[in-house]
């Protein structure tokens, strides 16, 4: 190990990101899911800030602040308000049972690590070894979207996937240009609010947040 300490901290935070992704996969309650999502955002913001500090890339400070404001404070607060209004804080039943999901998750992690190995050797950044972890968190979030049938966990899975992509961008190329990042942040914000409105409509139409009902949708 010849890495400097701040890079070791970045590696530790990357591991934390993966740990939280797994915790989200095994979480049954929506409130716990939102809390974990906020923690994932916090880990992401911290690691981005450390990368910004150690490499002198100033625009990364802005994206760290953006992550902190948006994904740690605003979105979780909005979701907490939503589940209070919708009154849906119950256990979410996954389509596949949790141990099987975790096993699939481990296979995905091995796949992502192997896939990222040749790519990360091409990247010239100091944080390139964390690319595998970023890819793994994207795939795990994707798995969460697939295995959950309720609307809110699916949206959280979508946002967690965005977290993973953001981390991948930071570790492979020191982040995207600021304009792109601002655009993505705005997109996420708008998506969350639009989906929030959607939740109410879904519940009004089906009396439930279970998206399985939408498979039977047809015109009357």
């Amino acid at each position: 190990m010849s890495l400097t300490y701040h890079l070791q901290v970045v590696n530790l935070l990357a591991a934390l990101l993966l740990l939280i992704a797994f915790a989200m996969l095994s979480q049954r309650r929506i409130v716990g899911l939102i809390t974990l999502f906020a923690w994932q955002g916090a880990a992401l913001a911290t690691s981005t800030a450390i990368v910004a500090w150690s490499t002198g890339q100033h625009h990364l400070y802005y994206s760290a602040a953006l992550t902190l404001g948006l994904k740690v404070v605003l979105v979780p607060w909005y979701f907490f308000r939503l589940i209070r209004q919708l009154d849906v804080d119950r256990e979410v039943e996954p389509m596949i049972n949790i141990p099987t999901t975790m096993l699939i998750g481990i296979i995905l992690v091995i796949f992502a690590f192997n896939l990222a190995l040749p790519i990360s050797q091409m990247a010239g950044t100091v944080t390139r070894s964390t690319l595998g972890i970023a890819l793994a968190s994207v795939l795990l979030a994707f798995l969460m979207m697939i295995t959950r049938s309720k609307a809110i966990p699916q949206v959280i899975g979508f946002l967690a996937m965005e977290n993973g992509l953001f981390f991948a961008a930071t570790s492979a190329t020191y982040g995207m240009p600021l304009v792109v990042e601002l655009g993505v942040a705005l997109d996420v914000l708008v998506a969350v609010f639009v989906l929030g409105i959607f939740f109410f409509h879904i519940r009004e139409t089906f009396d439930s947040m279970d998206l399985k009902h939408m498979e039977r949708l047809r015109e009357k």
């Binding site: 591991a15 993966l18 740990l19 141990p99 481990i106 992690v109």
Partner: protein, 314 residues
């Protein structure tokens, strides 16, 4: 070599003496957190003294196995406590027993506990023994994986080498140990019969695991088992310290570092005990059939730790 043997015996005796105190400290912290009046810190010692002065009652059907099991369990725990470096890293016994042998010692104690519970043929005994085996066969591989993660870093399965690599050489952060630490916490709650897997204070037949196995014991036999339980908690705590917070353990051959090591150990155990009490207060005991899922998660986390070791630390 003589100092090594003296240290080895000293550490084992220290574990014997301190173990009930750690148990008492956890109980005190729990009482505080739950807003109750705390029992005295030395309550476990009073209990042990009381039990040793009573006359033992044995079931009519009990064989010799039932009578000897407490001593075997106690001996296993004393040996296990001798393997883990608590104060100094200078352990002459360590080449004889590495972490894998340590897991084996715990397993031996558990087998005798379960056999003794089955021996008297009561319903509760066999129920407890079956549940214990269900938990144990899931917890053991996870524990081994945790040890393997630490062994990969230090290239050795002997605890003094692991501690030496982590504490006395160049400081480095190991992300894989973060996974291993979480997995270790999950496994140790299961192995020590603590919340969320088992509740050490309950006598409700639906939930109890460890208590169901020792219901028929009394007097000195029960005292031996209670002491062994305290020793096991102590050994697991020092094991956690050795793997994840080893700073402060005196390097081999450095006697001057011993007072500081003692202070560090006391501090770490106090904080660890308080943390255990806090986790037990905020968590609810889960249903027995959730336990396989819980321990499966622990196993997967430990495997994940090994994978991150290959990704980030090689």
């Amino acid at each position: 070599m003589t100092t090594g043997i003296a240290l080895q015996i000293g550490q084992t005796l220290l574990a014997l003496v301190l173990a009930p105190m750690l148990m008492g400290w956890v109980n005190v912290c729990r009482a505080w957190l739950q807003g109750r009046v705390a029992p005295p810190l030395l309550q476990p010692y009073y209990n042990l003294r009381k039990l040793f002065h009573k006359d033992a009652v044995l079931a009519h059907d009990a064989t010799r196995l039932f009578r000897f099991a407490p001593y075997i369990i106690f001996a296993c725990m004393v040996l296990a406590a001798g393997i883990v470096p608590t104060l100094a890293n200078d352990l002459p016994f360590s080449p004889a027993a590495d972490v894998i042998a340590l897991v084996g010692l715990f397993a031996l104690a558990r087998v005798f506990q379960a056999l003794a519970a089955l021996d008297i043929g009561t319903a509760f005994g066999s129920l407890g023994a079956r549940r214990e085996m269900l938990i144990a066969f899931l917890a053991e591989p996870a524990l081994l994986m945790v040890f393997f993660t630490a062994s990969l870093i230090s290239q050795s399965t002997e605890l003094p080498h692991i501690v030496d690599r982590l504490a006395h050489q160049e400081f480095a952060l190991y992300p894989s140990l973060a996974f291993a630490a979480v997995a270790f916490w999950m496994v140790s709650t299961a192995e020590n019969a603590r919340i969320p897997v088992d509740n050490p204070t309950t006598h409700l037949e639906l939930t109890m695991i460890h208590e169901a196995m020792v219901l028929e014991y009394s007097a000195r036999h029960l005292a031996m088992i209670e002491w062994a339980v305290a020793l096991k908690l102590f050994t697991y705590s020092t094991l956690g310290i050795a793997l994840f917070l080893p700073w402060g353990i005196a390097p081999a051959g450095d006697l001057n570092a011993l007072p500081l090591a003692l202070l560090a150990l006391a501090l770490k155990l106090a904080i660890g005990g308080a943390a255990l009490a806090l986790l037990e207060t905020v968590n609810a005991k889960m249903r027995l059939f959730r336990a396989p899922e819980f321990l499966g998660t622990a196993f997967l986390l430990a495997v994940l730790g090994m994978l991150t070791h290959f990704l980030l630390e090689v």
